[in-house]
């Protein structure tokens, strides 16, 4: 069979070229050209992925496919790290999501960011993000994945702080970066542990090494899995490192859609799925994953109940949905988790883009309390948002109906804590439906509460992606029905899914019921709103706690940041500045003066005396090497033997 031509390196490189062109020249290029560059390269990249997908579908590309003759990156001793890519079912699905949704959001951004002075900068960053994200997804080894991992973090930081004149945006960017750094630290330790224990960083080799030792479980594998989990919680905004994601909404809305909902934050889930062979060997780590996931899902959903900023609701919703994915991973239902990742990418991107369209319509206003009655003013946005809300709430036969159901079923089927986790998930599903419909009602129904604005529908360049994503949100679940798990099985392993006949239908019905309950409560409270937020007077202390986001930020500030600052300050002022620097200054000064007094006689400034010393040095070296030459061995031999 002929070698299939994949152009794999070009999938990341094309957006990178876009980044280079726009980043280096964008300031001088006309806007139309910037848009063209920004769209053409991701589009080409997407087409390449489609090409690969077609080859895989038609069977001429055997999966998993790892690139032969990939250029070496690091070759040190027995460790070899290459730039090689791996295409298997998992990375292919992820690549399709990343480039496809990414491309749609690029299109949307052309409309959304049209008035921005930093237009070229925005697209340069966005292309850079796509570059790193595709690197992350394609990477055939942990280290290359880490490069992508750090890179998307950088792109995320740049884009959160895109409006760098705004102090809140800057600090949000820093917060994201710092919190991520904690996670990355764990990831890095995990990588070192892998290297120390496996001697390789390539996924396939690690898996092969594990497969060869079926008895190897727990112990160091648990440590590795937990370290990787720390990394994943950082990137995917899970407890306790979720705090950066809501703040990341300071960035432009399409960025929130692409990076902080659809793709980058799911990298943690992807990473766990990719290294599932490690987690599979450590039940403890898996349990931790599941618990973190369920806890985050519930926790974030409760905060989301009371948020008034439309994007923050979505942000907490994202955290919550990511929790679901972790829950899926934790019960070893990786394919269900990835399935949910995919549907979530569709409907959450759609939600954010629709929210962006609403914000655009409201002239930049993000507070839901000032919106209302937009249903007739922005009809297309309204309808696509409706699709997304139905999808996320698990309305029957919409996308999340299938994926969330799969996760919940898997949780229920898992032994031990499974039932508890399932129940938490079920409650969260009700909460999800509630806060989503709350958002829906507040935004689109009733009367417009801020009369200073004149809402208008967005241009088609923004609505087009909305419509496409809306369709995907509706039908996205159908592809997964039954086949998805089987399709992904070669890359993430076969897992018993919760197929228990009648019980399964009962579970499904319960989930739908939970969603319906959430909708009903929301309908009662917000359909004909008299006050801006009906929840507030109902449960005052709880509301305050929720509106304050459980004061996690404040707790972190007092428990970690402040003490750290104080210690740092003490360390800087007394240890570093006074003891080390001051002492060193005195010491060095003294030594320098002493030696200077001696050596200054040498530094006469006279060129010829320097030359003389040079000659003396040369003669000395010659003597050293050549006098023993007459004794039979050269000085070099003696010197070399001494080492």
């Amino acid at each position: 069979m002929n070698e299939p031509v994949l152009f794999l390196p070009f999938i990341p490189l094309l957006p990178f070229f876009g980044f280079l062109i726009n980043g280096l020249l964008g300031r001088r290029l006309p806007k139309a050209l910037v848009s063209f560059v920004a769209l053409a390269f991701p589009c080409a990249s997407f087409l390449l992925v489609l090409h690969v997908a077609y080859l895989a579908w038609s069977g001429s590309l055997p999966l998993p496919w790892s690139e032969p003759n990939a250029p070496a990156w690091i070759s040190a001793g027995a460790v070899h790290v290459s730039f090689g890519s791996v295409i298997d079912q998992l990375s292919l699905v992820m690549l399709l999501i990343v480039t496809g949704v990414g491309f749609l959001i690029h299109i949307y951004s052309v409309g959304y960011m049209h008035e921005e002075p930093g237009y070229w900068r925005y697209f340069a960053y966005l292309n850079l993000f796509l570059f790193f994200m595709t690197v992350l997804v394609q990477a055939g080894n942990v280290l290359l994945m880490f490069v992508g991992w750090e890179g998307v973090g950088l792109a995320s930081y740049l884009l959160i702080g895109f409006w760098y004149q705004k102090p809140s945006a800057v600090s949000a960017g820093m917060k994201a970066f710092v919190v991520n750094r904690i996670g990355d630290f764990g990831f890095l330790i995990g990588i070192f542990l892998i290297l120390a224990n496996f001697g390789t960083l390539t996924f396939s080799e690690i898996a092969a090494r594990l497969a060869a030792n079926p008895a190897w479980t727990g112990g160091v594998l648990t440590a590795i899995a937990l370290c990787l989990l720390v990394g994943a919680t950082g990137k995917s905004a899970q407890l306790p490192l979720y705090v950066w994601l809501p703040d990341a909404m300071e960035g432009p809305t399409p960025v929130s859609a692409l990076i902080h909902a659809a793709t980058m934050v799911t990298a943690g889930v992807y990473m766990i799925a990719r290294t599932h062979f490690l987690f599979d060997r450590s039940p403890f780590a898996l349990a931790v994953v599941a618990i973190i996931g369920a806890a985050t899902a519930f926790f974030a959903a409760t905060i989301g109940l009371v948020q008034t900023d439309i994007k923050r609701v979505l942000a907490y919703s994202t955290v919550s949905q990511l929790g679901y994915m972790f829950l899926g991973c934790g019960v070893a239902a990786y394919s269900a988790a990835i399935f949910h990742l995919m549907t979530h990418a569709f409907f959450k991107a759609l939600l954010f883009l629709a929210a962006g369209s609403v914000i655009h319509a409201m002239g930049g206003e993000q507070d839901m309390r000032k919106m209302g009655g937009l249903r007739t003013r922005v009809p297309i946005t309204f309808w696509s948002m409706t699709m997304a809300v139905l999808a996320i709430s698990g309305f029957p036969f919409m996308s999340a109906f299938f994926s969330k159901d799969a996760i919940l079923a898997a949780a229920f089927a898992a032994g031990g804590l499974g039932k508890v986790l399932w129940f938490v998930g079920l409650v969260t599903a009700a909460l999800t439906a509630f806060y989503m419909f709350r958002l829906w009602y507040l935004t689109f129904f009733g009367e417009l509460r801020d009369h200073n604005t004149h809402p208008h529908e967005s241009p088609w360049v923004m609505l087009g992606p909305l419509v496409i994503l809306a369709m995907l949100s509706v039908i996205g679940g159908w592809i997964g029905m039954g086949h998805f798990g089987a399709y992904l099985a070669p890359s993430v392993g076969v897992r018993p899914e919760g197929r228990t006949g009648g019980l399964e239908y009962l579970l499904t019905a319960l989930a739908v019921g939970a969603g319906a309950l959430g909708w009903y409560i929301a309908h009662r409270m917000y359909h004909s709103p008299t006050t801006a937020d009906g929840l507030a007077p109902a449960t005052p202390p709880g509301y305050k706690l929720l509106a304050g986001k459980y004061y996690v930020d404040e707790i972190y500030t007092y428990l970690i940041v402040k003490p750290l600052l104080m210690i740092s300050k003490f360390f800087l002022e007394w240890v570093v500045d006074f003891a080390i620097l001051g002492g060193a200054a005195w010491l060095l000064g003294g030594i320098a003066t002493l030696f200077g007094a001696i050596l200054q006689r040498w530094q006469s400034g006279n060129l010829r005396s320097y030359a003389a010393w040079l000659a003396v040095g040369a003669a000395a070296i010659l003597l050293f090497f050549l006098i023993p030459y007459t004794l039979g061995a050269s000085g070099f031999d003696i010197w070399a033997r001494g080492r």
């Binding site: 530094q603 006469s604 400034g605 006279n606 060129l607 010829r608 030359a611 000659a615």
Partner: protein
């Protein structure tokens, strides 16, 4: 009556070439030590370079290695660059000090 019979005393030992090269190098060093004019000192450096070049060419001949000659070629290029910069520096120094005597240019600044 062969044209190639022209060389009658044929061979010169390569060590002579090497000795000549060493001598040129040593003379260059001596020049550096005794010359008092900045430009002449610089010329002495060129002399050293030339001495070393000769040994490269000799060894290239000895080992039939083209790379020895290419090394000389690179040395020439670098010497050209060095001469350009060095002479520019000399001009700058002369402008600041209006002297070319090495012994008078002994401050570590212009």
């Amino acid at each position: 009556m062969n044209f190639t019979s022209v060389h009658m005393f044929s061979d010169v030992p390569l060590s002579w070439y090497l000795l000549l090269s060493a001598a040129l190098f040593a003379l260059g060093v001596v020049g550096f030590l005794i010359k008092r004019n900045l430009i002449t000192v610089f010329m002495s450096i060129e002399l050293m370079l030339n001495g070393v070049n000769l040994s490269f060419v000799t060894f290239a001949h000895q080992w039939h290695a083209v790379k020895g000659q290419i090394f000389v070629f690179f040395v020439m290029m670098v010497a050209a660059a060095e001469a350009a910069v060095g002479l520019a520096i000399i001009i700058a120094v002369f402008r600041a000090r209006s002297t070319l005597a090495v012994d008078r240019i002994d401050l570590m600044k212009l």
